[in-house]
Symmetry: C2
Subunit: 333 residues, 2 copies
């Protein structure tokens, strides 16, 4: 038996969650059975999609259950192995985040590229990177020469999506973000052609100024007013990848949708929602291409690492929902 | 010179148009030049898309101009020809409706299938039929076995779209319409599996009852609340063809969009707008397939023919906007 701690959903939030919605719980883990490993987590992921899972709503991922541990992406170091090819000290990527130790079924061994932090396999080379890659290339059907707008562009997915667009030959890459510092990051470090702070207001006017010739692709991480502004600015045959709507995740009541959606007819727009787990077959392509850019320094893996392990996880998650991260946020144990 | 009459846009409407927005104007036509024919119109089309053209808004078709004649689909009988292969008495399809006579450039000769009224080349075998065909098959990517919901299903495009779905092997075809008589038409004459009157209210509840296993395709002629209800009922990987939003054409201010659009992510929905004129290359396929069904009686070409020629055209158009037609509305001269 291994004594450990994990974080449970204590109560469902109504609107913005607080620390009171979570509880740290002591637990004893059994020894791993055949096909399992016991790991000590070294990194765990906090992601926007975890917020809707706190509601009691059926969705593409099952909701978290009150009184049970949360879960999510994590990197663990093997302490004890009942799997051929995995030995103590090896790293594995798995889904049992939000806990200090875990017994993992069918663990996936992690062999990081030289010089690449294992945490990036929760980010740019993991689900985050695959979301950006599939959303831009397969869902929005990006083509070289397209002008691309990414909302939430300083976030985990957005920061990668914008860079893929640039590296694949976009005519112009525009990002929105929620602070002057993030806007500077987009322009100065991530190579966006234009960026603006949506909290300054006048979203439509700012987007029009940043995209004087319109946009061809909109990568939507935000929903709400951002989507409405993008519909207004999209060129004919424009394409929208609907990736998420963090602006709405904490709304107790749904907000109205874009009042200009009727423009989709005359402009021949397409809007497509997607879930990255449907596209796992593209992981190899993504790692080859994005990993190559990462290795030769063309792509920046922007990351916010929070130290403090399990005791820091709830604050990290709440901070991420408030936009306190740049790039991918992970908790280091 | 030929003395004739035509209908001009007298003033742009604000909200619902009235007879005061139109004027009947006398005019003298020149003799046709080389490559032209002089025709006497025998049918003209009144269509929903003409309403947004009355506004001074740039769109995929240029707006009508105040003080100038309207235009639209028409069938004319040749009176005088300067085109090889066209002789007096021949029929042509052209774009100069809203007038009693017209001098037509590059006229397209009409050779109706046996037993098919020439008016159907403004409807089921014309732009209307092509809109239904392309929207269902190419834009929504209909597949046999799909459950299909069509709004405005007793209208020109909707009545054809629903029947194509049935004849192509839909598992279930559901239609909404604006009166009990139209609902009966859908069920009893056009072969819809289920239909309801949206004016009874509780759109979402009615749609859920009509589609207990959800829908896979939504053919949207209406927009507004219909689109919101459909998004709620669409199954995973559902597809929406955005064809028009007649519910909004007379709004002075745009209404909010669907507040559940965020569901498009988890359900992996796609929504695509389209304009039929981009898809003229499909006309031959459509006429072969739909014409075949029409000839052997499997498809009903529902039509509302208004007699009275030019003097009846404005009332016919206004009546169509109020939903007084079933199927395609044409004016007979």
């Amino acid at each position: 038996m291994t004594a450990t701690r994990e974080i449970h959903l204590a109560a469902r939030p109504d609107g913005w969650p607080t620390a009171a919605n979570f509880a740290v719980v002591d637990r004893e883990l059994p020894a791993p059975a055949d096909g399992q490993v016991l790991v000590r987590n070294v990194f765990m992921s906090v992601d926007p999609y975890m917020r809707p899972r706190m509601n009691d709503v059926k969705s593409y991922v099952p909701p978290f259950q009150v009184g049970e541990a949360l879960d999510g992406g994590a990197v663990g170091e093997v302490l004890e192995s009942r799997v051929d090819g995995l030995a103590p000290g090896d790293l594995v990527v798995h889904r049992l985040g939000w806990r200090e130790h875990a017994v993992v079924d069918r663990p996936r061994k992690l062999e990081p590229l030289a010089g690449v932090s294992p945490s990036h396999y929760l980010g740019v080379l993991g689900t985050t990177g695959l979301t950006a890659y599939v959303g831009l290339l397969d869902i929005a059907g990006f083509r070289p020469g397209d002008a691309v707008f990414v909302s939430g562009a300083a976030g985990a997915v957005g920061s990668v999506a914008g860079q893929i667009a640039r590296l694949r030959g976009a005519s112009r890459v525009i990002g929105s973000a929620g602070s002057a510092e993030k806007v500077a990051l987009l322009r100065d470090k991530l190579g966006f052609d234009a960026a603006f702070d949506y909290r300054d207001g006048h979203l439509y006017r700012q987007l029009t100024a940043a995209a004087p010739e319109g946009i061809d692709v909109y990568f939507d991480n935000v929903g709400g007013e951002h989507l409405e502004a993008a519909i207004g600015v999209l060129n004919d045959h424009g394409r929208v990848a609907l990736c998420g709507s963090i602006s709405a995740y904490n709304d107790a009541e749904p907000k109205p949708g874009p009042k200009n959606l009727g423009l989709a007819v005359g402009k021949r727009l397409s809007l497509r929602g997607f879930i990255v787990t449907d596209h796992a077959a593209r992981t190899r392509d993504m790692i080859r291409e994005v990993g190559g850019w990462l290795a030769d320094g063309q792509l920046v893996a922007e990351e916010t690492v929070v130290d403090g392990g399990l005791d820091a996880a709830v604050d990290a998650f709440l901070g991420m929902l408030r936009g306190e991260n740049t790039g991918k946020m992970v908790v280091r144990f």
